[in-house]
Symmetry: C2
Subunit: 334 residues, 2 copies
């Protein structure tokens, strides 16, 4: 069995985008509290939107189950206010639930949180509980920068995050660290902000006591961990200079990396420096990079090929393809 732990619903019917545009327009003219009628989707529309995309690609690439969440760049936590994010998250998460219910063998849900700049992360607990307890979701995407590239709110080790972590531990759900769009002209969303967000979160884990305080808290850092595996020596050395325990003891009980690295040498590095137990197969479908690599003749994001092509033991591949996901997403029943 092959579980893709990082898939986004980037192909939702047009009504979703229309709704969001109207919501943003309201925010921009100071009417963020206007409650809009939620978009309506027919089963046929939803079926078509995934059958021609994610489902087709699962079949083509030979994967079985996608851990499925709303479009990441669309979360846009920096837009509007808390009410905006609550409504928008509700709409997006309900839509994921519709798809998951329609194709229970192919998708399982992970939710977007209604984070908002300056708003306590604790305020996201209600939606997390709803998604896990009522909709059967198995995790959440957590934005380490709800200010959209301005990095103005509190870092992940700030105590304001702790109630959310407590709830994650209680529900036994992991979070994927995932920034959203960027309103900072320095940061291209998928090329810069995503990768920097991953690296930033990792160092916040490294330099804090989060995992002393929450020994069972689990985070997945996507996009192969940002810059982290490439600079694993640097991070081992910095931890050592800071008088901390060896890096693997410090973070690898709690931090996992996905395989959204779009070339064989990058995947080979990841597999070499990070233990197989800490790597989860993922492709980011349909995501940041959609083209065919002229060097291989296959899609850049066809990451299964890189794992298949890697010189590691079958046992390690099995962990990466499904064993680790089953362990880390304890609510995943397959």
């Amino acid at each position: 069995m092959i579980i893709d732990c990082h898939g986004h619903y980037t192909t939702a019917p047009k009504q979703l985008d229309d709704y969001r545009k109207l919501q943003i327009a309201n925010c921009e003219c100071g009417k963020s509290h206007t409650l809009l009628p939620r978009p309506v989707f027919s089963d046929d529309e939803l079926r078509e939107s995934v059958e021609n995309n994610q489902l087709r690609m699962q079949k083509e690439r030979g994967t079985d189950l996608t851990i499925f969440s709303p479009r990441a760049v669309g979360m846009g936590h920096h837009i509007g206010d808390e009410r905006t994010s609550i409504e928008w998250s509700g709409v997006c998460n309900d839509l994921i639930h519709r798809v998951v219910t329609m194709f229970p063998k192919n998708f399982v849900g992970v939710c977007q949180l209604p984070q908002s700049p300056g708003v306590a992360p604790a305020n996201s607990i209600k939606e997390l509980e709803r998604c896990v307890n009522e909709l059967g979701f198995i995790g959440c995407n957590l934005n380490p920068d709800p200010t959209g590239g301005m990095w103005k709110d509190a870092p992940l080790h700030d105590r304001s995050w702790y109630p959310l972590y407590e709830k994650m531990v209680e529900l036994d759900v992991p979070a994927m660290i995932h920034v959203s769009g960027s309103c900072n002209p320095h940061f291209h969303a998928t090329a810069t902000h995503y990768i920097n967000g991953d690296t930033t979160a990792f160092v916040q884990f490294l330099t804090s006591k989060i995992f002393t305080d929450f020994p069972t808290l689990k985070f997945i850092i996507p996009h192969g961990g940002g810059a982290v595996p490439y600079h694993w020596g640097r991070y081992r050395g910095i931890a050592q200079d800071l008088g901390l325990p060896p890096l693997k003891d410090l973070v690898l009980n709690n931090v996992f990396f996905d395989t959204c690295v779009y070339h064989q040498p990058g995947i080979d590095l990841l597999l070499k420096v990070i233990p197989a137990e800490n790597i989860l197969f993922a492709s980011e479908l349909l995501g940041a990079v959609r083209g065919v690599d002229p060097e291989t003749g296959f899609n850049y994001d066809d990451t299964k090929r890189y794992i298949d092509g890697a010189s590691i033991a079958d046992e390690a591949k099995q962990k990466i393809f499904s064993g680790n996901a089953k362990r880390i997403f304890s609510r995943l029943k397959v």
Copy 2:
């Protein structure tokens, strides 16, 4: 011959730090325009500060020449105002000049620019010209974020940078992209901000017309290019999705990466995905990571060992160790 293109004067006599502390204290109490007496250093003090450190390590590690610049985290462009940065850069650059003049076979100078938040990059031209024309420096360190982790000033493709680029082209000096300290609690300076700064600058190059407008402009991205080589497939794919030329054609005439990656697998990846012509040997001495790697028994930052240990042709090693530096730093006479 082995040229280390990335060394910082992190071991300057205590007077330098005392001077800076006083300068910062003045900024903090609104007296940033108070002109302080510049610190005084004896030749013996300077000699001792490098003989026991950088010079000793050159000998121990078998390198010959270090391209030497002021302490990067100390540049602190976000502190005080333009006057603060002009004075501080003058002090730091003059100090580099003293050391370089004292040990001309071992060091050659690269300057810090007097950048300051909200101040036109063009205002750094005067100090660049002084350092190159009067002090014999061969390049500069350019901070893509003089706001110290707030990323508030204009990105590198903004026209406000162009006068500085014109001067770099005229003088035929490359710049190393190098952020300084971070006043944003999200970003640890050497673990996060440095690496994110490198990745950010690279994507700004990728997504802009800088090298169409300045075909001979040259930038070195340190720390092995941040996250870039690890995500080379992602960046090739994003360039392709944007309808841009192949990534190598887009940036590799103008962008070079150093070898400050502190473990063998990271260096192996760098050497595999980036052409040897675009890699410059560097160690960041004495820099971000000072310890001994228990996995190897040698210093993390003893990067020469990783190049020595890499499976690449001798010709490629020669380019990385000195050939490329001689070509890119055209003012370097060795």
